[in-house]
């Protein structure tokens, strides 16, 4: 059974005079213990999908879906309070903007302590406080913060963005969730701690069989340890499937361009020669092209592309393109 199964998720922004569709009919599913990556350019709607799943978008956003199944339970049909409880218990998210997701007037210890589940503690409340402190310290060590006393006693604005991000990660793994959504969890970190965080996430996945949905725009970094890869462009899922297949033999022009433009792909490139890149930029949500949203930038585009391509399934490898690339 799928742990998470999202079907036709659509997220729209109501601007008053018209409705902007930021995420269009996205499908996504993952099994227990799997690591999936959600990649796409900046502004393609990756964070929106994650936030819609967590239920943290404000009222201006309208979220509709045929179904969002969590272990067979449809979250869309659950009353809000129940849904929040369930998500709070089983899904955790590392937010992209760590410092704005921490309460500015509460000390770090308070905020981490809140995330530590009651059930793991024993004894009377004064004993619990001590246990919480130990747990919080251990969590901070796990994410690579050594000066735990100082950090626990600080307010978020006294810490750097990188430390806030680590605190965010500590809070997210405190409940040992079934699914961890990591929204670019290492952007504010230096490369050594970045590797440490990846190791931590990998071990959590392997030892505790925690599923992870990694959001990133760096394909190569994820390729070797993710089971599934979902490529998003402009709010549409253009290609999805097992990482090896998608990465090894991309069928969608956009995925191919993404892989070709990554520095790892270009190591053999001659000095000072140009990196491969698609022409143009990602269109704004107000001026989306009709039909295939990649159309104006696509090297393979043809007349048929003015109609929105449907997703075609090639043995679990779905591609939304009229002219999928054939294997060499």
């Amino acid at each position: 059974m799928h742990l998470l199964d999202i079907r036709n998720l659509t997220i729209e922004l109501n601007t008053g005079d018209h409705v902007i569709r930021a995420v269009d009919k996205v499908n996504l599913s993952l099994k227990e213990g799997e690591v999936h990556a959600l990649v796409g350019e900046s502004g393609s709607g990756k964070s929106l999908i994650a936030k819609a799943l967590m239920g943290v978008l404000n009222e201006r956003w309208q979220v509709t879906a045929d179904r969002i199944h969590w272990q067979g339970v449809d979250l869309m049909r659950l009353p809000p309070e129940k849904r929040r409880k369930l998500i709070g218990k089983e899904i955790a998210m590392i937010y992209q903007e760590p410092s704005s997701c921490l309460d500015p007037t509460a000390k770090i210890f308070e905020q981490i302590a809140e995330s530590i589940p009651e059930q793991g503690l024993s004894g009377y409340f004064w004993q619990r406080k001590k246990q919480r402190k130990q747990r919080a310290t251990a969590l901070l060590h796990k994410v690579g913060i050594k000066r735990h006393t100082k950090v626990l006693d600080s307010y978020p604005h006294e810490l750097s963005e990188g430390v806030c991000q680590k605190v965010m990660i500590a809070m997210a793994i405190a409940r040992s969730p079934k699914l961890l959504i990591a929204d670019e969890p290492t952007t504010a970190l230096e490369s050594t701690t970045r590797a440490q965080i990846f190791r931590l996430l990998k071990s959590l996945n392997q030892l505790k069989s925690m599923s992870i949905l990694m959001i990133s725009h760096e394909l190569a970094e994820l390729n070797d340890w993710t089971h599934g890869l979902h490529v998003l462009y402009c709010g549409q899922m253009v290609e999805a499937g097992p990482s090896k297949k998608v990465f090894g033999s991309p069928k969608h022009p956009y995925t191919q361009a993404l892989i070709k433009s990554s520095p790892e792909h270009n190591v053999a490139l001659e000095h000072k020669s140009e990196l491969y890149a698609l022409k143009g930029t990602i269109p704004t949500l107000q001026h989306l092209p009709i039909g295939c949203r990649l159309g104006p930038r696509c090297p393979q585009a043809q007349k048929d592309c003015v109609a929105t391509p449907q997703a075609n399934d090639f043995h679990g490898h779905t591609v939304a393109c009229h002219f999928p690339l054939s294997q060499k």
Binding site: M54, G55, V56, N58, R84, K85, I87, G88, K89, A92, M93, Y95, E97, S100, C101, L102, D103, P104, T105, A106, E110, Q111, E114, S115, R147, K150, V151, S154, Y155, H157, E158, L159, S160, V163, M171, R175
Partner: protein
Amino acid sequence: MLRQYLVRRLTLLFFMVLLLSLFTFTLSYLFPGDVSTNLSGIDSAGFNANDQITEKYKLNENYLLQYFAFIQHIVNGDWGLSLASGQPVFEHVKTLFPATVELALYALLISILIGIPTGVIAAAYHKKWQDHVIYTVTLFAYSTPVFWLALILIMAFCLQLGLLPMSGRISLLFEVEHQTGFLLIDILLSNNTYKQAALIDAFHHLLLPSIVLATYPTAVLVRFTKDAMLDVLDKSYIKSARAKGLNHSQIIFHHALRNALLPVISQIGLQFSTLITLAMITEVIFSWPGIGAWLINSIYQRDFPAIMGGLLTVSLFVIIATMIADILNTILDPVSRNRSHGQV
């Protein structure tokens, strides 16, 4: 950082007080009549006395020296005599001002105790019936004129039902020694046999004026607290705390309230000037022996030394109260409290 901030605030306070004193001094020239009379409160003085006053206030010297002399007398507590009563203005202020502060403080206390929880409830039940009821009531509280409300309440509770006294601070039956000027404290400090009865009587007298005075600030606080709460509840740290599985009351009490109350505290400070203005009207209606009623009376009687003294006191009080609220806000807010902390 905090020290720097305090120094800045105190400098600002100094200049505001300087301007205020300059303005008050100028008033003695702007008011009709003799400058010496306006300053000293001694009218149609004999030749000798007039010389003394001229000497005292250095009226023959230049304006700067006159101003310094004026300041010196003010600081020494010599505020001239009231034209109407012939008594020293400073003595009047000393007995009257505590009555006003007492009334204003109780009204403020009521509005804080009612306004902030109500605002929180309105925000917690945003767009539900509780919110609509609160909105309607505050709309009335906003738009009802103080004097009208006072008269209606007097008609209902004093004249029709006869439950509460109509005017004054305490019944003439009780004699309370003047110590601090705050009646309730004075009663508690005194050792009369009728202490309890006096206290109850003072409460009865206090009830209507403080309710009338509290109405408008309460409405303002309800609205402000609600807006601040809604603003904070929309922040992403609240959203993410909620996604952690905290329930509604945990969110409100652990995260939202603390963040929302910071702007509310500075708002309370800003309410002081409105409160004092409204207190003047309330005092006149309830014959409350406070500085507001006295000031208005002095204006009618063209008692210039009294007007100057009253204005000075009231303005000084408002300035200092606003400043204190501002400093309090800074001390309570961790973000502005210590930006100097090193980063980890």
